[in-house]
Symmetry: C2
Subunit: 472 residues, 2 copies
């Protein structure tokens, strides 16, 4: 595809010269240019034509209208921290980066809501909320780069979903630009609005395929007064579930319920050179974070620890005595991804299951690997309180990368079949993007996919918005 | 419309004789028969042909397929406690009552989720959850009759939305039958499932126009340990907002934040023969409910009361000393509807606004009434922490009912215009149904309504499902 000089001039007149870049002109170095058309998936090679930086919803609409008139495909570009290829532009598209749209637009100090442009970096949103005496609770490793609009477009979760839910729960209103360039505004900043279909929920998690999210109003909450970390060793898988059940009876709010296997703990110890926090070996570990509001709450934690030790749900447990120790405990969980990715070659999966089906699924999965891929090991960890497992397959030393990934390609469908059998999802948090679209049918029926197609067609009749993502 | 004997036999063979009733046959008395085709709105006269009582999703699907083949319009019928005519059948329809679908289907004790048929009465669902050691938090006056499916179809709220959110937040999975009789199953019982558009949210709040909800999986939570009621007198409207803002800093969870005017308090005192709980007259009253977990939490409440008295947000306040007093306090809020409906003729409106726009809206509204309808008085109360006002216009004694309602018909559009100006919604909780569909455009843009129509068409191509509801 080549862009005519006339069209180049048109775009420049829409946005100004300094906010439009063309692949075949050299205002920006190629690596930087291409980085706006990719994400963290790294298996796709970006290749696209035009990079734009609109400053407001109206400009996004004008760029989309330009693309619509000229039948140019569009990829919305946020913080590009995704793991499913949802932000990849590799077929001559126009990329619409939201990076220059990062302003606070409005704030309601009474209800506690903040309206911002979608390109605001999540960490900055946290700051803006805190400066106003509030707290925005959706938090995860990539918040220093991710955009709030991208978080909404992928229905982001993170480590405290067990308490705060997914980001969907915190979105009051959205402004979006559809595939025709039309601006739709949903709900404003009110909480209750039972006036027909709540269309904003279609856009939350739609990965930019139905519209480009340009502004959002988020509900804020209050910051936890303080928190405590309880790190425990768990003797068997079913005790993890009993332990989680037991937390329902705790008088303190639980903010996180994360688990890891001995295998993961070992890898973190090796990689980060940290000691084993427990004196005896255990197959599983669970890290719990509770909110406390006063010192006497510590007694409740000790009494909880006593109960779960007595009931045998945990064989050992340690309560962080100060914030430094709390941080250290979190490292055993948060260091896993880095430890296994740097020292090993891994194939990642982010799946979810009903809690009670987890063990049967894992048994089936282990049987599958043992019989067909005896050298494969699993690094298993995740937000187990949400039913969310990060299941990473680790490459055996004697296998080449190419051979390993080729075998993983065969494992995936078998695993997805098992997930389907146990009523799980092939993507808990990361989305579908390009990476999993061929497997969508393992999580969604053909009737559902048909409805999704009809909705896509209604909002993006020329199939220009992030085409090829999600729908097979 | 008349139903052929062949079709009658067909339906009887689908469901069995005892679960199909025809208007022109006399198995059931007419009043009972008609009651399944109406709700609490009372302004529409039910008139329909066939009443059916399927027992499971498959049977609902078969009845819908029968209707589809014969082009018969369908009205789903739940607990019929709505206030917008959403369950009215008045044009020869087939009514599908969910009353015989009230079974528990599944329970996950670890995560805490319950799967039930949609016809389960909400109160019974509360019981089923409690028997299993959990709590379902969506609660309101009509839960003794309302169905959980109807609650979902209207995205029900209630008195504790400020803490627990609307029912939307508690729905994990749905099974629905679309307008073609197709069964769609959304999400099962998992929390996280980022695999494309989350279609279940379209059905939540769709008032039966996109599909009939037949089964649902609900997330449960834990019951508040105990609660305390703080009833306060507030000197002016802006102090209500400051007071709400102040609750954000409370270390105790706030479960309810309800307000009423002096006018409402007087009406409850007259009707229920209860004394004035305050020694001095105040224009506004706010009732707050807080969760407490231990006795020392009472100190926090006293200190909060001290703060809000010092800051002048309240002029007087009283903390319920026991559960009987708590109940008494709640009566001043919960008795309003009954008190004004029985002793007066009222025109109800259930609206919502951004908190900070409430006062300007109310000033505009008062100015409108004073200039054009000087005899009209307003009974104002509601879930103000959610931005939700129940604005009831009370008929002046010297006006006939007919004249009053005819004038209200003129007030409504003017009020809706003011709501639009202040970014509010014409229906916070009650939905649109038949009653407000002509005013939908005050809350939704024509572009949004167009998208709604396209979605309706995709899921109900013959426009058979609850036709004429929501969409003008």
């Amino acid at each position: 595809m080549s862009i005519s000089q006339e069209n180049k001039n048109k775009l420049k007149s829409l946005l100004g010269e300094e906010r439009v870049f063309f692949k075949d002109e050299t205002q920006m170095d190629q690596a930087t240019f291409l980085s706006f058309g990719t994400d963290r998936t790294k298996v796709y090679v970006p290749d696209y034509e035009i990079l734009t930086f609109p400053k407001n919803t109206q400009e996004v609409s004008e760029v989309v209208k330009f693309a619509f008139e000229n039948d140019i495909k569009i990829v919305p570009s946020g913080g590009r921290t995704g793991y499913a290829g949802g932000a990849v532009a590799k077929s001559g598209e126009i990329v619409i980066s939201l990076s220059k749209m990062d302003q606070v637009l409005d704030f309601d100090p009474f209800f506690g809501s903040l309206t911002v442009q979608a390109g605001m970096i999540t960490k900055n949103l946290h700051k803006e909320a805190e400066e106003r005496g509030f707290y925005f609770p959706v938090d995860f490793a990539a918040t220093g780069s991710s955009h709030i609009g991208g978080n909404i477009a992928t229905n982001a979760g993170g480590v405290r979903v067990v308490h705060y839910g997914l980001i969907r729960q915190w979105v009051l209103g959205l402004k979006v630009v559809t595939g025709t360039g039309e601006i739709l505004e949903f709900n404003g900043e009110i909480l209750k609005n039972n006036t027909g279909y709540d269309l904003k929920h279609l856009f939350i998690g739609s990965e930019g395929t139905l519209g480009i999210i340009t502004e959002c109003t988020l509900k804020l909450t209050k910051k936890p007064a303080d928190n405590r970390i309880l790190f425990t060793a768990v003797p068997d898988f079913s005790s993890i579930l009993e332990l989680f059940k037991e937390t329902h009876n705790m008088p303190l709010p639980i903010l996180a319920f994360e688990f890891l296997t001995k295998y993961c703990l070992d890898k973190v110890m090796d990689h980060l050179h940290v000691p084993d926090p427990f004196s005896e070996v255990s197959p599983y570990y669970v890290l719990m974070e509770f909110e406390i509001t006063e010192e006497s709450d510590d007694e409740k934690l000790f009494s909880f620890l006593e109960t779960i030790l007595e009931k045998g749900y945990v064989s050992d447990g340690s309560l962080a005595q100060n914030s430094r120790q709390a941080e250290t405990f979190w490292k055993y969980r948060e260091g896993i991804s880095e430890s296994i990715s740097i020292d090993y070659t891994v194939h990642k999966n982010d799946i979810s299951l009903p809690l009670r089906n987890m063990n049967p699924f894992l048994e089936d999965m282990q049987a599958l690997l043992s019989s067909k891929y005896p050298g494969f090991e699993i690094a298993l960890f995740g937000h187990i309180g949400d039913g969310n497992l990060h299941l990473n397959i680790v490459k055996p030393k004697d296998l080449s990368d190419a051979e390993f990934f080729s075998q993983c390609k065969k494992v995936d469908p078998s695993m997805f079949e098992l997930l389907q059998k146990h009523h799980g999802s092939i993507s808990a948090e990361h989305g579908i993007g390009l990476l999993k679209k061929d497997f969508l049918h393992f999580s969604r029926s053909s009737a559902e996919i048909e409805v999704m197609r009809m909705i896509k067609k209604a909002l993006d009749p020329k199939n220009l918005l992030n085409p090829g993502k999600i729908l097979p």
